[in-house]
Symmetry: C2
C-alpha cells in the first residue's frame, strides 16, 4: 500500500477536549507509519491549508502529543471560516487540492461541528471530481451538542459537567446569603440555538441535593409574567432561586433577548448579555437582591473539570477517524452510539457525512418539563453519563500544566499565494 | 473547670472553605467535652443569636461535620448584618448576652472579615462590662484577603487558584480563536476595595506558560488611553490579549466604572459590571472582537478547585480558635504567620482583636508593576504558596457531593422576641 501524509485541522469554537481528539488522530497515525507518513496540522484550521501554512506534528515528541489529551482549546489554532459552496467559490477547493497534492496529503481529518462536516463532505466530493485520491473523515466536536446521528458530541459532556457543578456550588452560596442578601442568582450559559447546555444546568439539582432552579431555554420564548411567577414561587418556598439562562433566549417576537434594546454608556446596543438583563428584571419586578455570572469561555475551556467520559470519547473519535480512513472509508464521521444507559455503555459507529452535514439536532421537547422551566427524567438519563468521571490535568504550584506545542512550519512547496 | 456551651456563627460573604473552619471549631470542641458542652450555631449568622434561632450541631453525626471540610458556602447560613456601635444600639448587645445566658454560652466564635472582627471585639468588651463570663474569639475569613496581621485570609487562596486557573484556560481558548475571531478576553473578578484577587489573575501567566495579560486593579485609577495602548501592544505582539479587571475599578474621578452611566433596556443604571464595559471599550476603540466573563459567585463557591493550603489553613484557624478559647484567651484571632516562602511554611499565632478590627490591609504598591498592569516577583512569591495543592471533594455521577446539615433548632428558652 502507498504511504501518504495526513492533514488535520481544528474548526470553529474550541472545547476543553478537542486536543484529546487531536491526540487520538496523531497517536493512531503514528502507529501506522507504513500507511501514514506525517500528520500535518493546519495552522488556524482550514486557513492553514489554504495558505499552505502547515504544522509538522512529527516534530513534536510523544510526550507533547500525549499532553494534548489534557490540554484545553486548539493546540494548532482554530478558525471561524466557512468554505463557501462549490458554485460560489471553486477556487477555494482547487487551492485545497493544490496544497494537498504538493504535500502528498491522502488523508483529510477535519475536527469540528456542523459547518465543518459540510466542508469535509464537499472537499471529499470535489477531490473525487478532480480525480485526486483523498480520504476525508470528519471528527465530531461541538459544545453545542447539535450534530445528528452521534448520540452526543465530544466537548459537550465537559461543559455540562462544568455548568452543573458551577450552579450547584453557586446555589450553596446563595442559600447561605439569602436571609439578608442575595435571593436570586442568574447564570448565563452558552448554546445559542439549542438548549443542551441549559438542560445540563438542570443537573445541579437532584434528589440528593435539591436546588430551586428555573431554566430559560432558547427553545421556549421568554414569558416575563410566567417566569417571574416561577421565580417568586421558588423564593417563597425555598428562600432563594437559581436561574440558568441560555445566551440564545428569545422573546415572544423571536428576537434575542440579549439584543433587545440594551444600551451601554457609549450608546452601543448590547453591552451585557441576557444574564444581567434577567437579573435586573427580577430585581425590578420582585424586589429581590441578585447576583449574576456569565461563564462565557470559562465553561468551554475548563479542562480542570473535564468529564472523563468526554475525554475518552474525544480521544476515541480521533483514533476511530484514522482507523476508518485506513479502511478506505471516505466522507464519513465516527459517531458515538449509546448501547445502554445503566450501566452506560457506548461504542463508535460510522455515520455517512451526507446525513450529518448541515443537520442540527435540537433538544427534544420531552427533555423539558411541561412548564418550560425544568428538565425531565428523560433528559437526566441522557445527560448523566456524559458528565461522569473526573480526569484532572497535572497541577504544579497550584495551577494546571498545559502543553504548548512547538508548531514547526512545514517548508512551503508552492510559489502561489492564496488570500483568505 | 466548668463546662459551658459554645456559639459559632458565619458572617458576611461566604467562601469555598468557611465550612472547613466550622469543622475545625466543632471537631475540636467535640474533643474537649469536659470543657465545652454543645456547639450551637447561629442560623444565618449573628441574626440567629439575636432571634434565639440556634442550631444544635451536636445533632449532626461526625461524618456530616467532617464533610463540612469539603462543602462550600455557609452550612448554617450567613448574613450581611453589622451590629451597630454600643452607643447606637445597646439593646442588640444586651440581647446577645440575654440569649447567651439563657443557653449557658461561654464561648463565642465569630467567623468573618473586618466587620465581624469589630463585632466580636465589641461583644467581648460588652460581656466584660456586664460581668458576663464569655470568651470571644474571631475566626478569620474573607476572599478579599484584607484582614491585618494575618499573612493571608482563609478563603482567599481558593479564589486565587480559581481565577488564575480560569484565566489560564480561557487564554488557551482565545489563543486558538484569535486568528479570525476573539482577540481580547475580559474576566471580571471580585475584590471591591483591594486588588488581591486581581493580582491572583496575574498568576495565570508564568515563565512556563506565558500569557499576554493586562490587569486593572482597584488601586490604579482607570486611564483609558494607557489601557488601550497596553492592550493594543499585546495584541500586536501575541495576536491576542487577556484582561483581568476588578469589579472595583475606579475612574479618574474615583467613581466606580461599573456605575459610571450604564443604562439597561429598562432604563436602570448599572446593568452589567465593569467587565462588559471594558470589553465594549476595546471593541469600540481598537476594533477587536471580544468575549467577556463575570465569574461572580462561581469564584468564591468553587470548592471543586479549592487550594489545599487554603483548606488546611481554614481548618487550622477553626481548631486554633477553640484551643485559644480553652486557654482563656479572649478578644483574639488566630492569625496565619508565614515562616518561609520556599519551602512554604506557616504557623498559627495569636492576634489581639483590637489590632484587627476595622483595619483593611491593602495590596502593597510594590506588588503591582510600575506600569500598573501586572504583578511583580514579590507578589508572585506571596501568592504562589496560597494557591498550592488540590483537595477535591468527592464526586458521584459526575458532580461534587456536598453535605447539607439537618440544622435542628435548639428549643427556645426566652419568652421575649427580638426584631432585627
Amino acid at each position: 500500500m502507498t504511504k501518504r501524509n495526513a492533514f488535520y485541522a481544528q474548526s470553529g469554537g474550541v472545547t476543553a477536549v478537542i486536543n484529546a481528539s487531536a491526540a487520538g488522530v496523531i497517536e493512531t497515525a503514528r502507529k501506522h507509519r507504513d500507511r501514514i507518513g506525517r500528520v500535518y496540522a493546519g495552522r488556524n484550521g482550514i486557513i492553514g491549508a489554504l495558505t499552505e501554512d502547515l504544522i509538522d506534528t512529527s516534530r513534536e515528541p510523544a510526550r507533547a502529543i500525549a499532553a494534548l489529551r489534557y490540554t484545553p482549546a486548539g493546540a494548532f489554532g482554530s478558525c471561524r471560516y466557512k468554505l463557501k459552496g462549490l458554485a460560489e467559490n471553486r477556487a477555494q477547493y482547487e487551492r485545497l487540492i493544490e496544497v494537498f497534492r504538493a504535500h502528498d496529503i491522502g488523508y483529510f481529518f477535519y475536527n469540528g461541528g456542523n459547518d465543518s462536516a459540510d466542508t469535509c463532505l464537499k472537499v471529499a466530493q470535489f477531490a473525487e471530481t478532480m480525480g485526486y485520491p483523498l480520504t476525508a473523515v470528519h471528527v465530531p466536536k461541538t459544545v453545542d451538542n447539535d450534530l445528528p446521528i452521534t448520540d452526543n458530541c465530544p466537548g459537550f459532556g465537559s461543559v455540562a459537567k462544568y455548568v452543573a457543578t458551577s450552579m450547584r456550588e453557586a446555589a450553596f452560596d446563595v442559600a447561605s446569603m439569602a436571609k439578608t442578601s442575595t435571593k436570586v442568582f442568574v447564570l448565563e450559559v452558552m448554546g445559542r440555538h439549542a438548549g443542551w447546555i441549559t438542560a445540563a444546568v438542570g443537573m445541579a439539582d437532584d434528589a440528593g441535593t435539591p436546588i430551586p432552579l428555573v431554566l430559560l431555554f432558547p427553545e421556549i420564548p421568554f414569558d416575563e409574567a410566567a417566569f417571574l411567577a416561577a421565580v417568586d414561587a421558588k423564593v417563597k418556598a425555598a428562600g432563594y432561586c437559581c436561574v440558568g439562562v441560555s445566551e440564545g433566549l428569545l422573546n415572544a417576537d423571536g428576537k434575542l433577548m440579549a439584543e433587545a434594546g440594551t444600551r451601554d454608556a457609549f450608546g452601543h446596543a448590547q453591552l451585557g448579555g441576557v444574564g444581567p438583563l434577567i437579573a435586573t428584571l427580577v430585581k425590578d419586578r420582585l424586589g429581590c437582591k441578585y447576583h449574576w455570572a456569565v461563564a462565557d469561555y470559562l465553561q468551554r475551556a475548563a479542562r480542570h473539570l473535564a468529564s472523563k467520559t468526554d475525554v475518552e470519547q474525544s480521544y476515541a473519535v480521533g483514533r476511530a477517524a484514522v482507523e476508518m480512513a485506513l479502511k478506505g472509508r471516505n466522507a464519513v464521521m465516527p459517531a458515538i452510539t449509546r448501547v445502554s444507559d445503566k450501566p452506560y455503555k457506548w461504542k463508535i459507529t460510522e455515520a455517512p457525512l451526507a446525513k450529518v452535514a448541515n443537520v442540527e439536532k435540537m433538544l427534544p421537547r420531552d427533555f423539558i418539563t411541561k412548564d418550560g422551566y425544568g428538565i425531565t427524567a428523560k433528559a437526566r438519563a441522557y445527560l448523566g453519563p456524559l458528565m461522569k468521571g473526573e480526569d484532572p490535568p497535572p497541577f504544579r504550584d497550584g495551577l494546571p500544566q498545559y502543553v504548548r506545542l512547538k508548531n514547526v512550519a512545514v517548508a512551503k512547496k508552492l510559489a502561489t499565494q492564496f488570500k483568505v
